[in-house]
Symmetry: C2
Amino acid sequence: MSSVTKTLALLAYFSPSRPEIGLSQLCRLAKRDKATTYRHLQALEDAGFIEQNATTKLYRLGPALLQLAQVRELTVPQKVGAEAALAALSDATGETAHVTVLSGSTVYPLASHESQLHGTRAIMDVQTFPLHATASGLCALAFGPDTLFDIAVSKMESYTANTVTTPVELRKIVARIADTGFGYANRSYEDEIQGVSAPIFDQSGQYAGAVSVACVATRFTPELEQIIKQKLVAASRDITRSWGGVLPSSIEASWTRSLSHPHTLENAS
Amino acid sequence: MSSVTKTLALLAYFSPSRPEIGLSQLCRLAKRDKATTYRHLQALEDAGFIEQNATTKLYRLGPALLQLAQVRELTVPQKVGAEAALAALSDATGETAHVTVLSGSTVYPLASHESQLHGTRAIMDVQTFPLHATASGLCALAFGPDTLFDIAVSKMESYTANTVTTPVELRKIVARIADTGFGYANRSYEDEIQGVSAPIFDQSGQYAGAVSVACVATRFTPELEQIIKQKLVAASRDITRSWGGVLPSSIEASWTRSLSHPHTLENAS
DNA sequence: TTTATCGGTTCGTATTTTGAACCGTTGTTT
DNA sequence: AAACAACGGTTCAAAATACGAACCGATAAA
């Protein structure tokens, strides 16, 4: 592991719920040596990726990130291109909706929207979505590059009693998702949360990300599932078009098939 | 220079006008070895800071930046807290207005607004503002930590015929800014652009950043200067309050003084 | 066929990174 | 007030890693 990777990994410890971190605390969190961590923080500070509160000595994320993010979104306007569809999806289903993107072999959150609050909410505390345990991640496995499967297998951490734990089971679930056109995760990442996803594709027909609905499991009836799936299809078409992408006809066919022959996700898992 | 610093410096080559860069081109831009640069890019890609266009092999900024920027803005809501005042300033003066923040010893752009287009514009292509040649940078020298001066002196690159080139001159300009309460830069960074700034302070009374108006030099009359200064004071008060800061009374006194005894910036330089 | 450029890889050298121990300060406990 | 603990930050010899010249295969122009 390069020193660059180790240094950048420190940034992931900052979150809305833990926005400021001291040197010693960060060492404990990252299980790193203090001298090393200090030097890493210096490098990040030099680059403007973090800054230090002069009075408390705590570190927090820095202003250079805003600038780079602005360039990214100006170059690849995914977020702004997904927000309208996301709001519509969330409002129509009454549940939280979010969009994720696949970059390399990692699934990142892009935007989320909660119907209750009726406002675009900050990105969740989740930094990256595990491939094997979330609806978005499973979508990536089913519709993204085949090389992802081995990577997912090598990181099969268990989050709940329902997290899939064997490569064989995972293969079965992925096959089912590739067949139906919808990713699903039944309490496999967070207890009592059930997720359903639809894939999004880019201009070259490659898998780009997923749009998902995360639903409190007790509210998840077959009727709601049917509504969610219909709205997910609309959202996926909308976002894919907005990103300049094209939906493979096989996906459209899968959706038509699974929407006309509904069967709940309860059977699976 | 650590490998981390070298790696992060690569990100600065991405901009709205050059959003995608190939390996060889980046090596030329950064004057680095190909193998080294490739490894650095790998590390950045692993962290999601860049991603590679699968078909063209060009690299571009990655989605992890959006997420970190979101956490930063959620933690330190500077951008959202400055936008209203910025729009008002730009509309009232008819010129481009922007806000910068000081982090460590670097001045970063935060947001900008152009009156002509009547919309919040993307951050300028400028990555960081030189301390000695911009109104924002000079504000930081005049009102920020004293240690900045030596750093500025060690980086006195010349951008135009008007760029200040000697520490003695710089010291004089900084003293004048500290006295008047307004930063100014008369065609010292970009030809034909004249900048005026007012400082912004944080909750502990420390210098936090500056709000500025960038004006085409030919349009810069004493009358416009007076209007700009008045509106800058209002914007600085507004943004400082929005950031939870307090303006030192000495600054308010300077403003009162220099607004009641107007003298154009032409005399200086 | 030759030549140039591209993205990416190899491997021995040597520079950089590393972490145990240490320092001075601050705030709490005895 | 003495002892203690935790904090941010620093030192230096030992060791891991970063480095870059040379190389590879592919692609595209001459």
